[in-house]
Chain length 355, copies 2
């Protein structure tokens, strides 16, 4: 791909796509000749555009309208024509400032990232919360709430604090809970949920043979509810930016799109279907195989810590999106997010020094 087009065709295709991205109106040969000085007349451009249409890079909404890019056109643009746009100083500065404030826990990092993504692109940001399966327990605490319930609180080393109410036998006292907490802490802290060996579990059961039933419940919650809970969760930023896009002035379209975005599981799938494990992925129109998102494109990337992928983030907009801008932003923010998370974990590496 790419070599099939001579230089002039490339420049014309590029001009058409740029103009359409800016104006959202079909662009005609005269416009190209006027606005983008190619040194040829509109008639020449007309011929070239006819060729480009035949090759499938452009299409015409109807006879006597200008041309708009086809999906294949966008694809070619993204792969071969587009040139990278660096972030401005102001933008980088904004990002720096936002990250410097409140970076206490993973939730906030995700939030800030989503905000920035949507703000910088004026599209909708989709950020998958990091899989915390591999984060390790820092502290586990059972707090008695009333006669038959206790609150299980788990602090993870990445700053996430999870909690869940569990039922406990009426016979269990506050001292019992404290004892259980102590053993759980001694045995589990420093371990990730996955790395916990069966032998360890057995040890716990032996030490707390008295509290079998409660222990069953606690370990179950630790295993399933807490860990899986925040996995697969999605943060959406700038959802209403959609309203500013001319392609979604139609309320019916809006309804279907927002309806889709409401379904977290669907978004999870969308984010999970990320082929390239490194770098930015662009899915254009029909390449997103959800009915109702044909007019959308998605630019996304995987972020991670120390080469380990733990989630992905992306920007969703109309197929007529400013790819060059969006790709730069997504790329930059992926780095920033990974960096912020590593920062969050970094200090943890030397926890032995202290605890």
């Amino acid at each position: 791909m790419g070599f099939e087009l001579d230089t002039r065709k490339k420049r014309i295709l590029q001009a058409v796509i740029r103009d359409y991205i800016n104006t959202a109106e079909p662009v005609g040969s005269r416009t190209i000749a006027r606005k983008y000085g190619l040194g040829v007349s509109s008639a020449t451009i007309r011929n070239e555009m006819a060729d480009l249409e035949e090759m499938g890079f452009l299409e015409q909404p109807h006879t006597s309208a200008g041309r708009i890019p086809s999906e294949r056109g966008y694809r070619y643009y993204v792969d071969c024509l587009m040139q990278r746009e660096e972030l401005s100083f102001d933008e980088e500065d904004l990002i720096q400032r936002e990250y410097r404030s409140k970076i206490d826990d993973v939730g906030q990092v995700v939030h800030v990232t989503g905000q920035l993504l949507s703000q910088l692109t004026s599209y909708t940001a989709v950020v998958q919360k990091p899989k915390i399966g591999f984060s390790s327990f820092k502290n586990i605490q059972l707090v008695g709430m009333d006669k038959e319930r206790a609150m299980l609180v788990a602090v993870m080393d990445n700053g996430i604090v999870q909690h869940r109410m569990i039922d406990v036998p009426v016979s269990i006292t506050g001292n019992d809970l404290a004892a259980i907490s102590a053993v759980l802490n001694a045995k589990l802290s420093g371990f990730t949920m996955e790395s916990i060996k069966n032998t360890l579990i057995k040890e716990i059961y032996i030490e707390l043979a008295h509290y079998r039933r409660t222990l069953d419940l606690v370990l179950d919650v630790l295993r399933y509810s807490l860990t899986s809970d925040s996995e697969d969760k999605i943060y959406l930023g700038g959802l209403f930016n959609i309203l500013n896009q001319p392609e979604f002035q139609n309320v019916e379209k809006l309804k279907t799109l927002l309806g889709l975005l409401e379904q977290e599981d669907l978004l999870s799938n969308l984010m999970a279907a990320n082929p390239s494990s490194s770098g930015v992925t662009v899915r254009i129109g029909g390449e997103i195989s959800y009915r109702g998102m044909q007019d959308c494109s998605m630019v996304m990337a995987i972020y991670g810590v120390k080469g380990q992928p733990i989630g992905s983030l992306g920007v969703l907009g109309p197929t007529r999106m400013d790819y060059s801008k969006v790709i730069s932003v997504v790329e930059y923010m992926t780095k920033k997010l990974s960096f912020a998370l590593e920062n969050l974990f970094k200090d943890i590496a030397d926890k032995e020094v202290k605890f």
Copy 2:
């Protein structure tokens, strides 16, 4: 008000409003005569409607269209004409089931309430999270995260768990943190933030004279960040129900409305401006004094525990909303929410039994 209208005018006004609520179309005299058997001809109704218009209860979009209710008309309808609509068995059953599952903490109660409100009315639910100022500490824990940071976790008796990262001097060890936690727990648990006396604080400072600086920080966070954090927060349910209302098919209108609803502080003000301290309040159109919400009405009520108001909840929809239905739902849900919260607190009353 009310006595100025004779029975027939009342019945006609009622019929017009009901019909308009159902159809969203201006309603004419013939429609009234046909659909609502009043035993008089359309001509008579025509005369009456002209009177009602002159009195300000109805208005005409243009000559030769039917009539639609004016704000004053809706107000009169709500105050004098409307009859209460009981919830169906299925609806009450749904509510029961939803509340029976997951009622572990205040957040979930609020979430379920919002969901139900929007689902039952097909409008948008606005639920102010309960002010937790008066909830008391159950457990306070400082967990070391890395050399210079610790996680402060506070479990409140209403099931809310709050946490915040704080900086601590590098010199402080895990044992120190445990010691601080122990003292804080011993002194503060059972107390609400407001009820903490200065003498108590002094006691703490004396016992932990060593950790002055850290203690300053911890108490500051407990006082301000944690408590005020979840106050004033608003849960919105069924936001996209707006899209189904014919009065918001216009994207511009949608944009302004959604823009307003995005601002939490504005919503907080809206919910706070609740005059009657008991019972359901209805604000119609211009009675909500925000530009951009002229076409909306709001039905709201204050909920509380043991007569103590701790928040409010409401339903936002077009002025042409099904007041009778919405008022019933809001009234019912207010009771349910208060009840659910009291349940959450009830067991706490007898905590002495156990701890």
